[in-house]
Amino acid sequence: MTDIAELYQSLIMDRSRKPRFAERLECFDAEAKGENPMCGDRIHLFLKRDGTQVRHDSHGCTIMTASADLMAEAVAHKTPTEYFVLRAAFEDMVNSGKPDPMLGNLNALSGVSEYRSRIRCAMLPWSALAQAVNQDEPKNG
């Protein structure tokens, strides 16, 4: 099961079991819910503009939960413009399987490229983030 170990490497297992950024924020500036209707994976994302914190409440598979947690870590203290740059790089990486130095810990998910049906699990938190940011835009003026 070597290829399985490649996908479910320790960082992914760890972040899925003990996510560092899982929290339902009481106070937030924007939120978004993402759902994969094919499988029932669900994520509720909370966004705080001051300090640009992202928190998630994830109910789904290992890949989705770990992706949400690593995303929350990667985008902390970044601007929405930087989110979108990271998102594009992340999407390229999970499709190509080629790690990108810019993505840091997110590269742990590069093994997903071998599992076509799981790419959407990894992308779900990023779609929710884009939704939350778009919702937040008018407020930003």
């Binding site: 099961m1 399985i4 479910y8 029932g40 290992t62 599992y115 049906s117 699990c121």
Partner: protein, 416 residues
């Protein structure tokens, strides 16, 4: 029970497996262990050859029989109607309508029967364990036509709750009971004879979704006293694009068409058209000729093996699987119904259904993961997603052992 003790099947499983060419495929270097037949079954060579034969030797459009090939093709196509009538023990061949799948058959009933025989204020009852195919068409009818849609509960064991059913029928407004004959998630059969009698005593008709049941046991629509019975050909080892609606003749006679076009008319003028008699009234346009003839071959195939032998084989497989799975620590099987067939849904502590499916797939084992097009039921069971292993007449007990080994390996990966 060990796999070896199960090999003395009352039919020749080795020969049966040779009939299904796809089962010889390798997946990631492993033998394919196909445990997803409830989603769609593999096809025997007899079906493949029947379809190739139509295209090579006797193809033309049907019901336009002014030449040899059309007559020959029409005969082959219409012969399948007799085969389906025999499969379900319908009173007559005119009670069999060909559709694209079970979903389309239910939509046909919801649209045609629902809008003509039901009145605003009438109620329809479904159960908590319906496939979306037997829920969404009734929601659409409710929204378009003003009927009420009610949901009868299931017990924690996954069986229909007759007390809840009685409560739903109490005000006498229910005109149709639409329920599954076998749950595609829990694998349990529903007591269809009792349900039909229950509905009829209260002045309601009954529609049975037989998409799963028809594959695993003999269905007798007369013995059940079903008003409507639907199934899909592709789960019955036949091609995709084939479905069947059985309805009692007097119901079909009174129903208006679902789709309009060629083949379903008696006469057409620019001002008005009149409808053909059933079943042609419900089969507008050129049908799935090649696929329907393939379905005929599938029916011949399963009937030659016999439903008694198929049911006995699958009963043993299911018992074996329940035994293997219940010995895996942290694995929970959903539903504990007594009368169940070869469809088993389960969840595992720590491992999400998706992760289970991906990790099994890499070992060549195909299972389904998700909500199985029964999202309300999955919610009722208190989970978001399940893994599902389902068996067919070609499934080996050794494949269930492989599933057990695979799941134990997953437990190791996720156990730490």
């Amino acid at each position: 029970m060990s796999a070896a003790a199960l090999t003395s099947m009352p039919f020749d499983i080795a020969q049966i497996r040779k009939d299904f060419p796809l089962l010889e495929q390798k997946v990631y270097g492993n033998n394919l262990v196909f445990l997803d037949s409830a989603a769609s079954a593999q096809k025997p060579r007899a079906v493949i050859e029947a379809m190739v034969h139509v295209m090579e030797a006797q193809y033309a459009n049907v019901h336009r029989g002014l030449h040899f090939m059309s007559e020959k093709t029409s005969d082959a196509y219409e012969a399948v109607r007799d085969k389906v009538a025999a499969l379900l023990n319908a009173t007559s061949r005119e009670e069999i309508v060909f559709t694209r799948n079970a979903t389309e058959a239910i939509n046909l009933v919801a649209y045609s029967y629902g809008r003509s025989a039901l009145r605003p204020g009438d109620a329809i009852v479904v159960s908590e364990m319906e496939h979306h195919a037997n829920l969404v068409p009734w929601q659409m009818l409710r929204d378009a036509h003003g009927v009420e849609l009610r949901v009868a509960k299931i017990t924690d064991a996954g069986e229909l709750d007759f007390e809840s059913l009685q409560a739903q029928f109490a005000d006498g407004r229910v005109k149709l009971l639409a329920v599954t004959h076998m749950s595609n998630v829990l694998g349990n059969y529903t007591p269809v004879e009792r349900l039909a009698a229950f509905a009829h005593e209260r002045g309601a008709k009954i529609l049975l979704d037989g998409a799963q049941a028809v594959v695993h046991r003999r269905v007798d629509v007369q013995a059940i006293d079903a008003d409507f019975y639907v199934f899909s050909g592709h789960k019955l080892y036949g091609p995709t694009g084939t479905g069947v609606l059985y309805a009692k003749a007097e119901l079909l006679e009174a129903m208006p068409p679902f789709l309009g076009g060629g083949d379903m008319i008696a006469s057409v003028s620019f001002a008005k058209s009149s409808w053909a008699k059933p079943p042609a009234r419900f089969e507008a346009g050129t049908p799935a000729i090649i696929e329907t003839i393939g379905l005929g071959a599938a029916i011949d195939y399963v009937r030659a093996i016999g439903f008694d032998a198929i049911a006995a084989h699958e009963r043993r497989l299911t018992d074996h699987a329940l035994n293997v799975l219940s010995n895996i620590e942290g694995l929970k099987i959903l539903g504990q119904a007594e009368d169940r067939g070869g469809v088993i849904s389960f969840v595992m502590k720590d491992a999400h259904a998706h992760d289970i499916a991906t990790l099994l797939d890499r070992q060549g084992i195909a299972v389904r993961a998700g909500h199985h097009c029964a999202e309300p039921l999955i919610g009722r069971l208190g989970v978001t997603s399940t893994a599902r292993a389902s068996f067919g007449l070609y499934t080996l007990p050794e494949e269930i052992d492989a599933l057990g080994v695979g799941l134990n390996r997953i437990k190791q990966v996720f156990g730490g």
